[in-house]
């Protein structure tokens, strides 16, 4: 697409941490043309933010700064010392933006780049218009009111001009953040995770706005995200993992390359989870391990290593459309050798669960008309559902929809304004201590005791749930072995890699073999492989009779649940199995809707409904 705007050659970035040097980016080279739009995809910690900051000149590449040499002087040297930059040969050649180097020509680069950091960089206590005026002044622009109005109109914020940025919804903040970066008409737009905390509807709107910009003004865009399904909408994708660029190209062609390896399979009358587990185990044994196997509605979706393995597979199967995700997991796996997939091979961990007395009708969690009102704001509005033993039940919805409130009411952390709930037939308001004793709870962001070691964390949770002596030692050893935490026994929980944090949090939650497990956003930020492993663990638990309640905002993960409840603006829009949900929005234009399509459709239906009722 015309001239080259960004050129990156062998970019490496190293940080100094407590444990020594850490390479955040390793030998990255890429180019981006004028007016090109690209997604930068990768899990948390893959180097996305570092890369964007390097482009914006907020960080300097290793080749441009002799990092160690200059950092040795410490505080005093920082103040009084002269900076001694040893210019290596390729100084200022690593990153070139329109032939300017961010290290030396920062001012020129600033004229080209519009950068929106995570959390959008807005002043929450300034109003929309004040934020815009500020950023206009900061960029030495003399925008007149009319220009700013045009911009606001363009983003659909014109009616909220005087509202404080802090009071905007996630979607509106995102648009305002974009407006602030657009105020001086940059040639390159760097957006750092613009879709975090934003509902899918707003996400799509923003995407449209950005697409329009690209077309009209020939602006190049780099949009970083950790959602693979989001990246699929782009023409071009950079996939980063652990600081390395693993893929650069169109997601469609990547998915194409997986053609013939992806299948849907099912076996009537058999429990899908058990089936999946057996398939994974058997194929592993045969030396033909699967790349990926997940449950998707009524089917099992399988990704094979090669055509040959696929042909030999024993179950009837239908070829499915490959996705970018399949490609990513294939790439990652081929680097990691093989996925074990045999997490459930040791059942001792999860048995005994079903011994706990069975409540009437096997209903382990019951919520009836749960309502929570904070002042004028209704956080949760008459939410009801019943969950059976061994079921995986998902609460799905964007941030702030009321998932967490519902969740907290269920485990007795928030007292409902009206309605009631019961765990294993024990009503929360009657005997909270007994009801809670059935719970395993994994809080948001893997709340662990950060400065306690892995072992100490496990020790604590085991002790608090009444385990002691030999029993405790045995249980902890089992968990450590099972979750492969041995190498990190004495590491502080806060220093663990995210995937291991998640494992530890889960093992702490199940240390006392609870019949009911509550998981609050257990997969956010975690890389794909860890997520897969996590789900296979969850599957085993559910197979052994543990009831699982999970909240998530990953639309695709909702498919792994037996049933989901869509929560939006405090209300449960629908409670159904994932396939039912998707089918309910099937149209001729969209015969194979994704979870996100279903979600958006249902939300807009709901919005229309409220509008109609208002008109009346």
């Amino acid at each position: 697409m015309g001239d080259i705007l960004i050129q990156v050659n062998n970019l490496t970035k190293t940080f100094e941490t407590k444990e020594g040097l850490k390479t955040a980016l390793k030998d990255i080279s890429l180019t981006l043309g004028m007016g090109e739009m690209a997604a930068l995809v990768g899990p948390d910690g893959s180097g996305k933010t570092t890369f964007l900051r390097l482009l914006a000149g907020l960080l300097l590449p290793d080749s441009d700064c002799n990092y160690l040499k200059n950092n040795k002087g410490g505080f005093i040297k920082k103040i009084f010392g002269t900076k001694e930059i040893v210019k290596p040969e390729n100084f200022c050649k690593t990153i070139l933006i329109d032939n300017f180097c961010p290290t030396n020509d920062l001012e020129d680069v600033k004229n080209i780049i519009g950068y929106m950091p995570q959390k959008f960089g807005l002043y929450e206590d300034l109003s929309v218009i004040e934020n815009l005026n500020l950023y206009s002044a900061l960029n030495n622009q003399k925008n007149n009111a009319k220009e700013i109005d045009t911009l606001l109109d363009f983003a659909g914020l014109i009616d909220f001009k005087d509202r404080l940025a802090g009071n905007l919804s996630g979607g509106m903040k995102q648009k305002l953040g974009l407006c602030c970066t657009l105020i001086f008409k940059p040639q390159l737009l760097l957006l750092d995770e613009p879709s975090v905390g934003v509902d899918p509807l707003s996400r799509r709107e923003l995407m449209k706005i950005v697409e329009k910009l690209v077309k009209e003004n020939n602006i190049a865009v780099i949009w970083s995200t950790s959602y693979l399904d989001e990246a699929e909408n782009f023409e071009r994708v950079f996939f980063f993992s652990e600081g390395e660029k693993l893929y650069d190209g169109s997601p469609k062609s990547a998915a194409e390359s997986m053609k013939g390896l992806v299948f849907l399979a099912k076996k009537e009358g058999e429990n899908l989870r058990g089936l999946l587990r057996n398939i994974l185990k058997d194929l592993q044994k045969e030396g033909k391990p699967l790349v990926d196997g997940i449950i998707e509605g009524d089917n099992i979706r399988l990704v094979f290593q090669n055509r040959h393995f696929a042909d030999e597979f024993f179950l009837p199967k239908v070829e499915a459309n490959p996705r970018f995700e399949d490609f990513v997991i294939y790439t990652l796996k081929s680097r990691l050798k093989a996925l074990d997939g045999n997490f459930s091979s040791d059942n001792t961990l999860f048995n005994n669960v079903s011994d706990v007395r069975a409540p009437e009708n096997d209903i382990t969690i019951r919520a009836e008309g749960l309502t929570k009102v904070y002042g004028k704001f209704t956080a949760a509005d008459k939410i009801s559902f019943e969950i059976k033993k061994g079921e995986i039940f998902g609460l799905l919805g964007p941030n702030g929809a009321g998932k967490s409130t519902t969740f907290k009411m269920l485990c007795g952390l928030v007292r409902p304004t009206s309605g009631e709930c019961a765990i294993m037939g024990v009503k929360m308001d009657e005997n909270p201590v007994l009801a809670r004793s059935f719970l395993g709870y994994m809080a948001q962001k893997f709340s662990l005791f950060g400065n306690l070691s892995v072992l100490q964390n496990l020790d604590f949770f085991a002790g608090v749930y009444g385990l002691f002596g030999f029993e405790k030692t045995k249980r902890i050893k089992l968990l450590i072995d099972f979750f492969d935490l041995g190498q990190f026994r004495d590491t502080n929980a806060e220093d663990l890699p995210l995937g291991y944090k998640q494992r530890l949090a889960l093992s702490c939650a199940i240390v006392h073999k609870p019949p009911v497990l509550f998981l609050d956003e257990p997969t956010s930020g975690v890389d794909l492989i860890s997520r897969r492993e996590f789900w296979s663990q969850i599957n085993s638990l559910s197979e052994n009779g543990t009831t699982i309640l999970i909240t998530t905002h990953f639309m695709d993960e909702a498919q792994y649940c037996d049933r989901i409840s869509l929560i939006f603006k405090g209300k449960s829009l629908i409670t159904a199995a994932p396939d039912e949900l998707k089918n309910s929005v099937k149209t001729e234009e969209n015969p194979d809707p994704t979870m996100e399509d279903a979600f958006i459709e249902l939300i807009s239906r709901e919005n229309n409904k409220t509008m109609v009722s208002k008109d009346e």
């Binding site: 907290k408 485990c411 007795g412 952390l413 007292r415 308001d429 909270p432 201590v433 809670r436 004793s437 719970l439 709870y441 809080a443 948001q444 962001k445 709340s447 662990l448 005791f449 950060g450 400065n451 306690l452 070691s453 100490q456 020790d459 604590f460 949770f461 085991a462 002790g463 608090v464 749930y465 009444g466 385990l467 002691f468 405790k472 502080n492």
Partner: protein
Amino acid sequence: MLNNIKIRFARLFALIIKEFYSVWRDPKSRSLLFLPPIMQLFLFSHAATLDIENIEIAVLNEDSTPISREFLNCVSSSKYFKKITYVNNLKELKDNLDREKVRGALYIKNDFTKNYQKKKGAEIEVILDGRHTNGSQIIGNYLSEIALNFSAENPNGIASVNPNLAKPLKGGDIQIRTRNWYNPNLYYHWFIISSLVGILSMSMVVLLSALSLAREKESGTFDELLVSPLKPSEILFGKLVIPLFFGVIDGIIILLAAKYAFSMPFEGNIFLYFFALIIFLMSVVGIGLFISSLCKTQQQAMLGVFVFMFPAMILSGYSAPVENITPQFLQNLTIINPLRFFLVISKGIILKNINFCDVMLNLIPIIFITIFTLLTANFSFKRRLE
């Protein structure tokens, strides 16, 4: 039954271990434990003094006679005064005082010797800097004392006239013999250090307990505690024991420093002392937990701790005696300040060896405060649960 007890014990034990580690393994909390108290002990014991020494004064002597000079000699040889600046006129005197070059001035008028010898009552004006009220009063007292001694020793002011009368009658005067019990030399640091045991361990304990709860709230682990089978009272117990433990250790360190570094006496019963210290620190933990139950972040908790600490210190009788606090209601307010009572106990046991009843008299209000704050903290845990 036995198993139940074992389980409860295991739970509490796990909790206490966790509380200990989360303080000990956290560099920030650990940095609070010992270094600041020791530094403050050092700073306070050296800097905090209301004694006044090394005084510089100005003298305007219009009456240059042997007697006035003799008197001035007495002044300058006293241990309190370091330097005498002679000035020639009132303007110069004012200048010196204005600029705080001197803390006071002696103004001897030209009829001084005449009056003195005629026994008409010789006057010396002592001009003191009213900007430093406490110090100036003390300087005034020093000078009065010197004058008194001088006139007793030189009743006729004729030392040079009749050498035989240089040591005349020592009588005619009522003698006042002062003895200072409990602190014979009136060392100010004895007072400071015996108060510091309470103040320093309090400031550490209140911060520790407020932060530990606020941190758990911030990181979300508090929810996990609440969801666990631990009862609110058990959580409270865990939060109580560890700050208490470190508070007592700080107390021991300060007492050891008092004994060995500052050669202070310890008159009373050490067991009674620690009993009182523990009760007092319990009330402080209660306050810390109460503060953080009102806060969402560690930052707010820290501000809250400050808002509590400052008045608690000022209204404790440490900076200035409680009975000096003038608006009566503010003085009455001090009865909710556990530090006020503990300072009495601390000084009482360390320096005065007060008896059990007197200790209890001051301990009972602390016990009430402890019960109140701990119940409040317990209630706030419960409320969060329901």
